[in-house]
Symmetry: C2
Subunit: 343 residues, 2 copies
């Protein structure tokens, strides 16, 4: 510890990030609310502070350091709104208010900043969230890389609704809203100048309207997560750990675009570990799965939604995948760093 230093892997969203959070942050910041380890903190204002009614609030934050700041299908502004909107939506909250804080490197073109801010405003309008407060800091040339954005968000959860990573039930269908790895590979292609026969676009999108339709159907939705840094594999492993269950998925059911497969083969990446910014994983009671699938497929951002596996009765927190060639593979969190600064 004495001479240990932070590495890029500590920001991967995978195993090293989890270790850092446990050893440094949770040991100092632990409380009954942070302990839930979901994408948003969830709390009621009713007990200590008088009549705020029976609803709960959700509150979350993310900083965005993606490089470059624009790529096919998105930019840092759109990402900064979608990431926080989605973290609110997956705990069942209606996103209401957003903060936006900018750390800008001296010398950034004002036109670049203006484009990013416009993109944030457009995405916020689509997601129906208001940007209500903010901050601007400027650091000297060389002290930051262009532009970093932090957003925090506040949302309201309807009475009685509880969606958490610890809610997966044995027999639940695991639904994935579409193809994986699009965001990570699209950003990488912009960064490294990779060219595909067909342009690959990032999937960055606000999922709150689709999620709202899913919840309004009255279906038994037990867990929702958006598989960002660390990819599908890391998110499924988190759910298995929080819910103390095993998860089985089938490789042939997981949609992966040809360009993503090709890039991953070339670079030695596993698509299961590549970041997504507009995808949803849901654990849904088996009897409601078809209804939920229909709703997702009728939404703009879930047309390829499909069942990729199920929740099993084991407390091993293991995630297993039936491979295309008929074997079984253990799926684990991302270890180390694969694609730094992807979000």
């Amino acid at each position: 510890m004495q001479n240990s230093r932070i590495t890029l892997g500590h920001g991967s969203g995978g195993k090293l990030s989890h270790d850092l959070i446990e050893s440094v942050f949770i040991s100092q910041f632990w409380n009954d609310i942070s302990a839930r380890s979901d994408d948003s903190a969830v709390f009621s204002l009713g007990n200590d502070n008088g009549n705020i009614g029976d609803k709960q609030l959700a509150f979350t934050t993310d900083s965005y350091v993606v490089k470059p700041i624009t790529w096919p299908g998105g930019d840092i502004g759109k990402l900064a709104v979608c990431g926080t909107v989605n973290d609110l939506a997956v705990v069942g909250a209606t996103p209401l208010y957003l903060s936006a804080a900018f750390v800008i490197e001296e010398g950034l073109l004002l036109t670049t900043l203006t484009e990013v801010v416009k993109s944030m405003a457009e995405t916020a309008a689509e997601a129906n969230i208001k940007i209500v407060t903010g901050d601007t800091k400027v650091v000297e040339r060389g002290s930051a890389d262009g532009l970093f954005i932090n957003t925090a968000g506040v949302g309201v959860i309807p009475s009685g609704l509880r969606i958490s990573g610890d809610g997966a039930k044995v027999g639940d269908a695991i639904i994935l809203s579409g193809s994986i790895g699009d965001h990570g590979i699209a950003v990488l292609s912009a960064r490294e100048g990779l060219v595909f026969a067909n342009e690959l676009k990032s999937d960055v999108a606000p999922l709150n309207h689709m999620i709202s339709a899913m919840l309004n159907s009255g279906s038994s939705i037990h867990v929702m997560r958006d598989p960002t840094r660390g990819g599908l594999a890391t998110t499924l492993k988190e759910i298995a750990k929080q819910s103390k269950v095993a998860i089985s998925i089938s490789e042939e059911k997981i949609p992966v675009k040809q360009e993503v497969t090709a890039a991953c083969e070339m670079l030695g990446y596993d698509p299961l570990h590549v970041a997504n910014e507009g995808k949803l994983i849901a654990c849904v009671a088996r009897e409601d799965a078809d209804k939920v699938l229909d709703i997702m497929r009728n939404s703009g951002y879930g047309q390829e939604a499909t069942i990729i596996g199920e929740v099993l009765a084991e407390s091993s927190a293991m995630v297993m995948m039936k491979t295309k060639i008929g074997g079984t593979r253990i799926v684990d969190m991302l270890v180390g760093e694969m694609l730094p600064r992807i979000c």
Copy 2:
């Protein structure tokens, strides 16, 4: 505009920051809540979202890029908690929940991060606010300067209370909680290796308990602000503009420590423009001013509280200062950048 670039002055908190906010951010993000231009956004959840009662929520954010990350009297962790706690408290909110997001440069010592996190936890305990959600990003060596922290905060405002920069009333006493410039000069001394005969400590402190005592006294407190970036001058000018009044202050009433005066004379700074991180400005009905002063002086962070001026009936938004030598000086916002990366 085409080739305009961001300068350090855009992060000063003064005139250029205000211009940037108006031209780039407000034009895209304007709404009924952001329009109030206070240190926190204030909103009710009652109208659109059912029974949340009659209380209002406050929500605010700040990113901290201070350099170096420790200095006499504080560190970036303490600052990141106090800054956001104070922004909530000055709109009359009880601070409840905090987010903490870290952008870390690869290579930062884990022991350094741990010390900062410990300092955040201690300050949060003093302020009685819970850190409930967070984020960690790591960027390559050279892409950020050590450590940047963003905090966002949520608080609850008691029914019927409205404290805003637009509330100053003619005849109000202007109360300042203590000496100005301590934070800015303490950070500068750590950065540049300045040595004073007596060590100057930053004033960084959570003011919420003092403010809570002031509000609980039932006094007519019309405006509260903490004069951070841009200093006392910029904050008074903001209040004068928002409230459409003139403000008159007296130079001899404003406490300035000898070390701050000396450093400012040497460097050509105006103490009125130097940042504070544990000071409060309040506009209070004249008949309640002595009661409020007593409460502040009995609090740990307001022992030197004093009346420095009054609100006048003019719509010029002018701030005037009677100087020690008997003249009158116009006080204006900081223009350009004096001390970059002070918070």
